[in-house]
């Protein structure tokens, strides 16, 4: 503990949580760095929410330990941890006004009234809800409730802030706006944020690092770019963005090994069948089976020799809908850079 910044904010040491026969979390190791915006991404039932609840103290590990800045908190009740949570349904107290909701943590800690009022004002300022202190939660919109929940958690200066699907209940426009705002608030307060989401776009937009969860285990941890560009497993390649998975005979023709690899649709260039393969590129012959015009870009479904369908996405920079639709049924040559291939194992 000599240099606090080198101590991980959260460390999981072989943490498991079993519900009867179900291994919700299975021997998990994880480190969240001090001050980062960390996403736990995965489908429902992958164990990400259970991990969050164990950090908050609502749930205890069946085995293993959880450390908060070096302190073992595995068996501490929620009210003895310097961790606060923004709940999916916000969980605001309906009988209190916005100001009292935000001041709740301070009221429990018996902070004097003057200081409470002052800090509530600061928080309302931070989440851009000045002048809302006397409203009841029922008089607020979804986005405003979310901000109150955020302020109520942040006013306690937690060491780590947990967010459980924080934007799940908001509509698309508001969600995109809050993504930017949450990121900005995190920069300003400098607190470690850990948030749980099943939305890969949200995870990529907001986080410094992402842990991809699947069946109680972490498939991959990395920056959004690493996760996207270099998916470590077929699951990650499929869950984060869309990906072509190539295996067997076709894989052997491209890479010389029958190990499965993934290639992102936008990395594939669609060329004419007699085009030469540029240096450093690999190529495959194929026939365009389907063309879907999507305005900004077009999605092609190309069947390559060996019977695999590859999805190719190209921006409509110079082409019109007439041009792209006429390609259907034609022979083409697909090429992409060797570096864009990610081996994802069996």
């Amino acid at each position: 503990m000599t240099n606090p910044s080198s101590t991980p904010a959260i460390r999981f040491n072989q943490v498991s949580r079993h519900f009867g026969e179900v291994k919700a979390v299975d021997q998990l190791d994880l480190e969240v760095i001090d001050g980062e915006f960390f996403a736990m991404l995965g489908p429902s039932g992958s164990g990400k929410t259970t991990c969050l609840r164990m950090i908050a103290g609502f749930d205890r590990p069946t085995s293993g330990s959880i450390y908060l800045y070096g302190q073992d908190v595995s068996n501490l009740p929620p009210y003895e941890r310097s961790v606060n949570t923004v709940f999916q349904d916000y969980a605001l107290f309906p009988h209190m006004n916005v100001g009292d909701n935000i001041a709740y943590g301070l009221m429990i800690k018996k902070v004097p009234k003057d200081e409470r009022t002052k800090r509530v004002d600061e928080m309302l300022d931070l989440v851009q809800l000045k002048g809302f202190a006397l409203r009841k939660p029922s008089q607020l919109s979804g986005g405003q409730r979310q901000r109150v929940a955020l302020a109520r958690a942040l006013i306690n200066h937690p060491k780590v802030l947990l967010l459980d699907e924080p934007l799940g209940a908001l509509d698309l426009k508001l969600r995109q706006q809050m993504q930017v705002e949450l990121k900005a608030i995190q920069k300003r307060v400098g607190i470690t944020f850990i948030f749980v989401t099943h939305d890969q776009e949200e995870a990529i937009t907001m986080s410094d690092r992402i842990a991809v969860f699947n069946q109680g285990k972490i498939e991959q941890i990395g920056t959004p770019a690493e996760i996207y560009e270099r998916p470590a497993s077929a699951f990650v390649a499929g869950f984060v963005g869309t990906s072509n998975l190539v295996s067997g005979e076709v894989a052997k023709r491209v890479t010389g090994s029958d190990q499965t690899f993934s290639i992102r649709p936008e990395k594939i260039h669609l060329g004419t069948s007699n085009e030469a393969t540029p240096a450093g590129m690999v190529s495959l012959d194929g026939v365009v089976r389907d063309v879907i015009y999507l305005g900004l870009y077009t999605r092609y479904l190309v069947e390559v020799a060996g019977g695999i369908d590859l999805v190719v996405v190209e921006q409509n920079l110079k082409t019109t809908s007439m041009d792209v639709l006429s390609i259907k049924g034609q022979k083409v040559k697909l090429h992409w850079h060797k570096d864009h291939i990610s081996r994802v194992g069996a």
């Binding site: 908050a56 103290g57 609502f58 009740p77 929620p78 009210y79 961790v83 606060n84 949570t85 709940f87 999916q88 349904d89 969980a91 605001l92 107290f93 309906p94 009988h95 209190m96 709740y104 943590g105 009221m107 429990i108 800690k109 939660p137 029922s138 109520r152 958690a153 306690n156």
Partner: protein, 268 residues
């Protein structure tokens, strides 16, 4: 939908039902003012308020009234505590036999009073407990608990479970969470349940008949008055008083639960 006028038949049926339910009470009210103490003649042969005075003079009536108020108060307090605890247990934990316990708790209100009464009398007699004020309270608590339990459980089910977690997350221990979050949220349910329980206890006859010793609660006192036709107007005065004392809490309880369910609807 609401602007459309109800068909004539429905209107008549509604008015008929209301008259059927309330005309007898109006008659009681009317004959508190009759100067003729033995017969019900209409129109009244005159108008007098002397029976109110007579009722005030009756010491036995006062004793019964005070006993009834005491029983109702203690039974209601017991019901509030036990009913809330039971509701919290059934709502929060998922233990074996939870549904059966819920059913057993609600059963006394559905069971005929005569059955509860005889069962209680046998049990109390069997344990050699002397019949007293407290045996009446125990008898009343059996159905008062149900009313509180139902009200509080319904409120718990409408409250977001994460609210309790949020409170603990923000540093409050179990006691602080109960005081600052749980109690304010169930307060109106407690008030409504408590008033209903009070009203139920206050006019209970059957179970009381079986569980009381020498004590006479107000409803039993009224019942005993049937054998004394000369006191009929006094009984009417008391009946009117009981109607009022029962009407007010039930009216308030309805208002409270109606208005609180409105605001909670908004939260969802």
């Amino acid at each position: 939908m609401h602007s459309k006028k109800a068909p004539l038949g429905l209107t008549i049926a509604a008015i008929g039902t209301l008259l059927f339910l309330h005309v007898p009470m109006l008659i009681i009210f009317l004959y508190t003012f009759t100067p003729d103490e033995t017969t019900y003649t209409f129109p009244l042969p005159g108008f007098t308020t002397k029976w109110f005075g007579v009722a005030l003079q009756r010491a036995d009536l006062w004793r019964s009234l005070i006993l009834s108020l005491q029983v109702a108060t203690v039974a209601t307090i017991a019901a509030l505590i036990l009913g809330t605890l039971a509701a919290a247990a059934v709502y929060r934990s998922n233990f074996f036999g939870r549904e059966s316990i819920s059913f057993l708790l609600v059963l006394p209100i559905a069971l005929p009073g005569i059955v509860s009464g005889i069962a209680l009398r046998t049990a109390i007699g069997g344990f050699d407990i002397p019949f007293s004020f407290w045996t009446i309270v125990i008898g009343h608590a059996t159905f008062c608990v149900v009313v509180v339990y139902n009200n509080v459980l319904a409120r718990f089910r409408r409250t977001s479970a994460s609210m309790i977690e949020a409170s603990m997350d923000l540093g409050a221990n179990s006691f602080q969470t109960f005081r600052h979050v749980v109690l304010p949220n169930i307060a109106t349910a407690l008030l409504a349940g408590g008033m209903l329980a009070f009203a139920l206890s206050f006019d209970e006859v059957i179970v009381t008949t079986f569980t009381a010793g020498q004590q006479t609660t107000l409803p039993i006192w009224i019942f005993s008055q049937l054998n004394r036709p000369r006191d009929r107007p006094v009984t009417n005065v008391v009946a009117t008083f009981v109607i009022l004392i029962t009407f007010i809490p039930i009216f308030l309880a309805q208002r409270i639960s109606a208005s609180s369910s409105d605001t909670e609807g908004e939260n969802k």
